[in-house]
């Protein structure tokens, strides 16, 4: 990558470096954290943001797409928490990237990520996952805060916990390490939302460890503003017999990349991934999954549903790697797109790398418009065209939402989805 060092830096790259140099004395961290930050930033300086030549960024040329990066805002705007997505949830607020010192959840150890930076405990986790992990690099160099959650072994946390990340203009870089002890149960809602509509750059990494037998529902609800860039990543490690339902909804943002980096390292574990991408206007949204089935006897299903309006562009990259000794892996992936305009676009890149011989792995992708027969049927019952279309689009995504089973959660997601569709249809 020597060629890239001679490239002129883009405005966004310059702004990222400046954001770092301006804040360097102020970003929390001990010496080890600071030196890790330095290294990550040097890396950004030297290699630049990834371009289409980098395979994992081929459909989302970040260097070209990220035109500008707003400067960090020194004085945080006054933001207030909003009602949780699911009634009765325990809200852990992250306002303009800062955790609340007084936040707590009964039965869960909650601490601020800034503390882990200050003590140096967070240093090793700050490293990027690999050479092309641009989100890891940006976030690792600039992260200020977030929450560290630890659910003790055997604890069953009935109340959903909402990580409520709200922001105004500027930059927000957060991290949420979460450890779910053996046999524990919990529901986490990671919610990203613009409070003011002013342009922001948001990066956020959730670092999730499921110990043996943990049973977790994790929802990522991304409702950023029309001018926001959202760079999200969730890293997941599975223990034996652990279960995760991971639900990702993208319903906002101008430039969005949500990475799911999942390693299944415990036998008997089960991943259910469901994604809904609601894409409108001139936006770019990328969901990239890298899933490693690394041990025998693990299951996963992945269903992504996309609705594309206007001139929106979407990307789903789904890489499933089955390690040589990961026999009896059962993995099924599907990506279905409802393309409602001629100017919309959706790119799907499923990849299966299978090194074991006794596995069931499959993938399928469809792209279609609304079925005319369905539309005619609804209209023939007196439902006007617009309403009938909205019903069918809703139905297309409702199918996967209903799989969540938790009625309150289903209702909450459905109301976000129908509100979005009402605005865009």
């Amino acid at each position: 990558m020597n060629i890239q060092t001679t490239k002129r830096m883009t405005a966004a790259e310059v702004a990222l470096v400046e954001a770092y140099t301006e804040q360097v004395g102020d970003l929390p961290g001990d010496a080890s954290v600071t030196s890790t930050r330095d290294r990550l930033l040097d890396d950004i300086k030297n290699t630049g943001l990834p371009t289409r030549r980098v395979e994992s960024w081929h459909y989302t040329d970040l260097r070209t797409l990220l035109r500008s990066v707003p400067a960090p805002v020194a004085a945080a705007p006054s933001l207030e928490t909003i009602a949780p997505l699911v009634d009765g949830s325990k809200v852990l607020p992250v306002l303009q990237g800062s955790a609340s010192a007084s936040a707590s959840v009964e039965g869960v150890e909650v601490s601020s990520f800034a503390d882990a930076l200050l003590s140096g405990a967070a240093a090793s986790g700050l490293m990027a996952l690999d050479r092309d992990d641009a989100i890891g690099k940006i976030n690792g160099s600039l992260v200020r805060d977030g929450y560290a959650l630890a659910v003790p072994a055997g604890a069953e946390i009935e109340t959903p916990i909402e990580l409520q990340a709200l922001h105004g203009a500027g930059q927000v870089h957060t991290r949420f390490p979460a450890v779910f002890g053996a046999g524990s149960k919990a529901t986490i809602i990671e919610r990203h939302r613009s409070a003011t509509g002013e342009a922001a750059l948001v990066s956020s990494i959730s670092d999730v460890t499921l110990e043996d037998g943990a049973d977790v529902v994790w929802v990522i609800m991304q409702e950023q503003g029309a001018d926001d860039t959202h760079l999200g990543q969730i890293r997941v490690r599975f223990g034996a017999d652990a279960k995760l339902k991971l639900f990702v909804v993208n319903a906002g943002g101008k430039l969005v990349r949500q990475e799911l980096r999942i390693d299944v390292e415990g036998e008997g574990s089960e991943l259910t991934l469901r994604g809904v991408n609601l894409l409108g206007h001139e936006t770019h949204t990328d969901v990239t999954l890298v899933l490693g089935h690394n041990v025998p006897h693990t299951n996963s299903t992945e269903i992504i549903r996309n609705v594309v309006f206007d001139r929106a562009r979407g990307v789903f990259q789904g890489m499933i790697r089955v390690a040589p000794d990961a026999q009896k892996t059962d993995a099924k992936m599907a990506c279905n797109t409802l393309l409602l305009t001629d100017d919309g676009e959706f790119s799907v890149k499923p990849e299966l790398e299978i090194f074991a011989d006794d596995v069931i792995c499959g993938h399928g992708a469809t792209v279609a418009d609304i079925d005319d027969n369905h539309l005619y049927y609804l209209k023939s019952r007196g439902i006007p065209e617009n309403k009938a279309r909205a019903m069918l689009v809703n139905a297309f995504v409702a199918e996967v939402v209903e799989e969540l089973e938790d009625e309150k959660l289903v209702e909450a997601l459905e109301s976000v989805i129908s509100a979005w569709l009402e605005k865009h249809a």
Binding site: R381, E385, A395, E399
Partner: protein, 251 residues
């Protein structure tokens, strides 16, 4: 109530002419049976009446209560009281049956300038109508027509008809795929809707259905035209002798 005058229609996509100068009049309160061999245009006629956009009317007119409906889309025709019970109702995953029924009823009411139904009122109506058609409440909790058996789909069509209270009911081979018990239930459902201000058009291949829904008139369709009209005895004659004689006479 319905007056079809010299109707010519073709498939929009490839221009194939299916209806070729069809004339038919149905009065309020009348039950009209339309029979005819395969490919004579029976189902096409039902689609055209409902306003399906896959067909183009090239000549003639369809008057409903004295007004042409050719320019109306299917939803507008439905809210004016035209209902087609489909031969093959489509399955629509993700659309809950109850939600669909409520939206359809209320959209029609809105279009007619009537008050929307309250939820309790809606529930009561569905419960009553479903009970009469012996529809399992579990069926109504499923997505629209998804996983319904052939018979269940037909019953669901009649349930919709009962709830929407149309003025012109068109039944497209509602008897196909029904066993004799289901056929009786469906026929009872249709007969219960008969009234002096409501007309029913029954499209069928067989006399069997007409034993339960007794027609006032029978019309034989062949190559897109009505080639013979008569009383209910005409259906018996067809059952005994087939279409060959009548087609021969017309030719």
């Amino acid at each position: 109530m319905l007056e079809i005058k010299n109707l010519h229609a073709r498939i929009a996509e490839d221009g194939t002419e299916i209806i070729r100068g069809l004339n038919l009049t149905v009065k309020p309160g009348e039950v009209a049976a339309i029979m005819g061999p395969n490919g004579s245009g029976k189902s096409t006629l039902s689609y055209i009446l409902s306003g399906r956009e896959d067909y183009e009317v090239t000549e003639g007119d369809i008057l409903y209560n004295g007004e042409s409906i050719l320019e109306l889309d299917p939803a507008e025709r439905a809210s004016k009281g035209i209902f087609l019970a489909f031969q093959y109702p489509v399955e629509i995953p993700g659309v809950a049956t109850m939600q669909f029924l409520k939206i359809a009823m209320n959209e029609q009411r809105k279009a007619r300038g009537e008050e929307e139904l309250t939820t309790p009122d809606f529930m009561r109506r569905v419960k009553e109508a479903a009970g009469e058609l012996k529809i399992d409440p579990a069926m109504l909790r499923r997505p629209l027509n998804v996983g319904f058996s052939g018979g269940e789909k037909k019953r669901a069509e009649i349930l919709q008809m009962a709830l929407l209270e149309p003025k012109l009911c068109i039944l497209d081979e509602t008897d196909s795929g029904l066993d004799i018990d289901a056929l009786k239930i469906v026929a009872d459902g249709v007969n219960a809707l008969k009234s002096p201000d409501r007309a029913v058009i029954v499209i069928t291949h067989y006399q069997r259905l007409l034993e339960y829904i007794v027609p006032d008139s029978v019309h034989v369709l062949y190559k897109g035209q009505v080639i013979r009209s008569g009383s209910k005895d005409l259906a018996l004659e067809l059952e005994a002798n087939g279409y060959a004689d009548i087609i021969g006479e017309a030719a």
